[in-house]
Each structure stands twice: as structure tokens, then as C-alpha cells.
């Protein structure tokens, strides 16, 4: 019976070399994935410098725990999970994620005028305005496509709380978009 030998892709070679503490290979892996991972960390952390710090912590863990990566999934997916975990841990330590059930908070959201309504930077700005707990649940559910059960397990909350937080985040974002749209159309006319 013929055995199919999978040829080593570039990532596998780089991982192999990185395991030997080859700094050059580590740098290549970093340069390949760092921009994407910084973008990911930025969903969760408003401040870019802090987000970069979280990303560096994540990469430090990636290289020091590289031996535990078993090629079962994609390497990018494995790094992403580490980055998300680092971001959530940071938010938990920093501000202690508070899951607000009071709707009044979302009703008081200021209507901030934005010129470019659909730009990704605006969306990011709106997401940044959300409370941390809502933001994390929204990012995990909408962007990372986690299920509520997975979010609940990751954040140590119930599925109900996860659903509530997502509902609140969506409502707040819709309000912000609507307000800005009105403003946009108003100025246009």
C-alpha cells in the first residue's frame, strides 16, 4: 500500500526550524502572521499600543509553546486562539469584564457623526465604543464565528448571558449606524 507523504509546506519548515530556536525562522513566522494578529487583537483592545503588547505576548507564547502544536489544525487557527485568549485575559485582568443587563446604558450612547459610514475603520470605532463584555461576545460570535456554548466556556459565563450580550451589542451598533446614516444623509441633502 502506497503511503502518501505530504510535502512540507513553508510553515511546517519554519515551525521545524523555530523549534530549534532558529531566530530567523521565528522572525519569518512573525512577519507573516503579525499584521493579521494585530488586527485581531485590535477588535478587543481599543488602544493600539496595548493591542500590540498583547500580540507580542501571544507570539511569545506561540514560540515558547510551539512544541505543543500538533499539526492537527491550521497553524494560523492555533495562533488566533492564543491571541484571543491573551486579549480576553488582558480585558479580564484590566477591567474585569462586567456583563451589563441594564438597557439604559445602550440608550445613552452618544450619536457620533461620521463621514464615512461603511468604512471598516468606522465599524471598528463603533465596536470600540461598546463595553468590553459586549465587545468580546460580539467579536467572538460575529467575527470569529464562535458558538454561544464556546463563548460561554471561554468566558466562564452562561449561554444566556452570551446571547444577551450579543443582543445588546447588536442593538447598540444598529443605533450608532442609524444615527450616523441620518447625519450623513442630512449633510448630503
Amino acid at each position: 500500500m502506497l503511503k502518501v507523504i505530504k510535502p512540507l509546506d513553508k510553515d511546517s519548515q519554519l515551525i521545524k526550524e523555530s523549534l530549534k530556536n532558529n531566530r530567523r525562522a521565528q522572525q519569518q513566522l512573525y512577519e507573516k502572521y503579525a499584521p493579521k494578529m494585530l488586527g485581531l487583537c485590535k477588535y478587543y483592545i481599543k488602544d493600539l499600543q496595548q493591542a500590540e503588547e498583547i500580540m507580542l505576548n501571544g507570539f511569545f507564547k506561540v514560540f515558547t509553546k510551539l512544541a505543543t502544536f500538533k499539526n492537527e489544525g491550521s497553524f494560523e487557527g492555533w495562533i488566533k486562539r492564543i491571541m484571543i485568549w491573551e486579549s480576553v485575559s488582558f480585558l479580564r485582568k484590566k477591567s474585569k469584564l462586567v456583563y451589563i443587563d441594564d438597557m439604559s446604558y445602550f440608550e445613552k450612547i452618544e450619536e457620533t457623526p461620521e463621514e464615512n459610514l461603511v468604512s471598516i475603520e468606522n465599524i471598528q470605532n463603533y465596536i470600540d465604543e461598546l463595553p468590553d463584555a459586549c465587545k468580546v461576545v460580539f467579536n467572538l460570535y460575529v467575527i470569529e464565528e464562535y458558538k454561544h456554548s464556546e463563548i460561554a466556556a471561554l468566558l466562564h459565563i452562561t449561554e444566556g448571558t452570551s446571547k444577551t450580550q450579543l443582543f445588546r451589542a447588536r442593538k447598540a451598533l444598529q443605533k450608532m449606524l442609524k444615527t450616523n446614516k441620518k447625519h450623513y444623509h442630512g449633510t448630503q441633502v
Binding site: 488586527g39 477588535y43 507580542l56 471598528q124 460575529v142
Partner: protein, 248 residues
């Protein structure tokens, strides 16, 4: 709408600062150094523990060996005593074996001293040497040669036997503190036997075991009777003299 934003956000990239990699590389280098240091410290501790264990095992074995040697060394005096006893009992063999015995006694002494030094029991070694020296002196003083037997005859032989007996009793006292009745009887019996054997040698007679025993008992009885008789006579003489003096 969410789907649209998702696609855009998922593929969003932000370029990190230029010195970000330098920071990360520095942290990784520090981590590797500390890991190596931890490894070395672990190895150092492991090596020191191994050394301690091996030293412990080595000294443990040494102690076991020395304690075994001690047990072996203890019967040396008894062996010497037996030899002395055999020399006293068999005077005809003394001349031939005395040299070998001396050398064997000396070698035993050396062994025991060596063992004692290894075991750091110098005091015991000194005591052992003293004891063996005494035993040697005793051996010298009590050894009876065939020539002596022929020259001095049975009376002097008896006297020597008595001295030898006394010496043996002293040795037993030294060792055990006191001499039991059984040991005394045993010594007496041995001395009788050897005395009879010596007498046989002098008169070139052939003898059986039963004869030897009978003769020994007879001689002993005779000797005791004579002594008793002498004692009674002397007592009687004393009383007679006292009565005579009082009458006068």
C-alpha cells in the same frame, strides 16, 4: 450586513511597530537563557544529591564491612586460647608448632588491628592487642615441652598443670567476670587428661581411653587424699601441741 463586515474585519491587517520584533526577540533570548540557567541549576542539584547518596552508600558499605570484620575478629582470642590449651594438653607438639602459631597469632593481631583502625575504634584495637599480648605471655609461661616433662618428672608437671589451670581461670575471669562451677570442672578434667597423657609419654606405655580415665580419677583421689591427710595431720599436730602447752 454582519456578513459583509465580518469578511472585511477578518482580513483586516495592521502593521506592527518596527521595533516590535526586536522586543520579542529580546524576550525570547532572555527566556532561553533563564531556561538554560534553570537546567544547569537543576543539574547541579541533581549532581550534588547523587554525590551525597553515593557517599552515603559508600560509607554505609564500609560500616557493614567493618562490623562484619569485627564479628570475625572477636573469636581471635578464643582461637588463641584454644591453641594455648592445645599446647598445654599436647606438649609433644609444642616445639614443632610453636613457630607457626606465633606467626599465625601475629597475622591475626595485624588483621584485627587493621580492622580496628579502619573502623576508627582505636581503643578497642589497643585492648585487643593487650589481651593478645597477655595470652602470648601466658602461653610462653605455661608451655610445657617434652624435654621439660622428661627432665622434671611428673611432680613438676603437676605443678605446671596447676599453674596453667590458675592462668586459665584468670583468663576466664578477665573475659566473663566470674568462673562457673561447670567451667571449673571442665578445666580440672582437661588438666587430668593431659597430665595422664604426659605420664604415658614419659613411661612409653600404651593406653586406652578407659584406662586413662580410671587412672586420672585414681590419681586425683589419691592426690586429694594425700592432701587431706596432710591437712588433717597438721591440724592434729596443732591441737596436740596446744593441749601439751596447756598441761605444762
Amino acid at each position: 450586513m454582519e456578513h459583509k463586515y465580518r469578511n472585511e474585519l477578518q482580513h483586516r491587517t495592521i502593521e506592527p511597530s518596527k521595533d516590535a520584533w526586536e522586543k520579542l526577540a529580546g524576550r525570547l533570548t532572555d527566556f532561553e537563557k533563564s531556561k538554560k540557567q534553570k537546567k544547569w541549576t537543576f543539574l547541579k542539584y541533581a549532581a550534588s544529591i547523587l554525590i551525597l547518596i553515593s557517599v552515603g552508600i559508600y560509607f554505609g558499605q564500609e560500616n557493614e564491612q567493618t562490623s562484619e570484620k569485627e564479628i570475625v575478629a572477636e573469636p581471635v582470642i578464643k582461637v588463641q586460647e584454644n591453641k594455648i590449651q592445645s599446647i598445654v594438653e599436647e606438649p609433644q607438639n609444642v616445639i614443632a608448632t610453636s613457630e607457626n602459631e606465633k606467626s599465625s597469632v601475629k597475622s591475626i593481631q595485624k588483621k584485627t588491628i587493621k580492622n580496628a583502625i579502619v573502623n576508627k575504634q582505636i581503643h578497642e584495637a589497643v585492648a585487643l592487642v593487650n589481651e593478645t599480648n597477655e595470652a602470648e605471655k601466658f602461653q610462653k609461661s605455661n608451655s610445657v615441652t617434652r624435654a621439660q616433662v622428661q627432665f622434671f618428672g611428673t611432680d613438676s608437671l603437676q605443678q605446671q598443670k596447676i599453674e596453667a589451670l590458675v592462668a586459665k581461670v584468670q583468663i576466664i575471669k578477665m573475659e566473663k567476670g566470674e568462673v562457673s562451677d561447670f567451667e571449673l570442672d571442665q578445666l580440672l578434667e582437661d588438666a587430668q587428661k593431659s597430665l595422664m597423657a604426659a605420664q604415658k609419654v614419659i613411661h612409653h606405655k600404651s593406653f586406652s581411653g578407659a584406662d586413662l580415665l580410671a587412672e586420672a580419677e585414681y590419681d586425683l583421689d589419691k592426690d586429694l587424699k594425700e592432701r587431706l591427710f596432710e591437712a588433717i595431720v597438721s591440724t592434729l599436730k596443732d591441737t596436740k601441741n596446744r593441749f601439751a602447752n596447756r598441761d605444762n
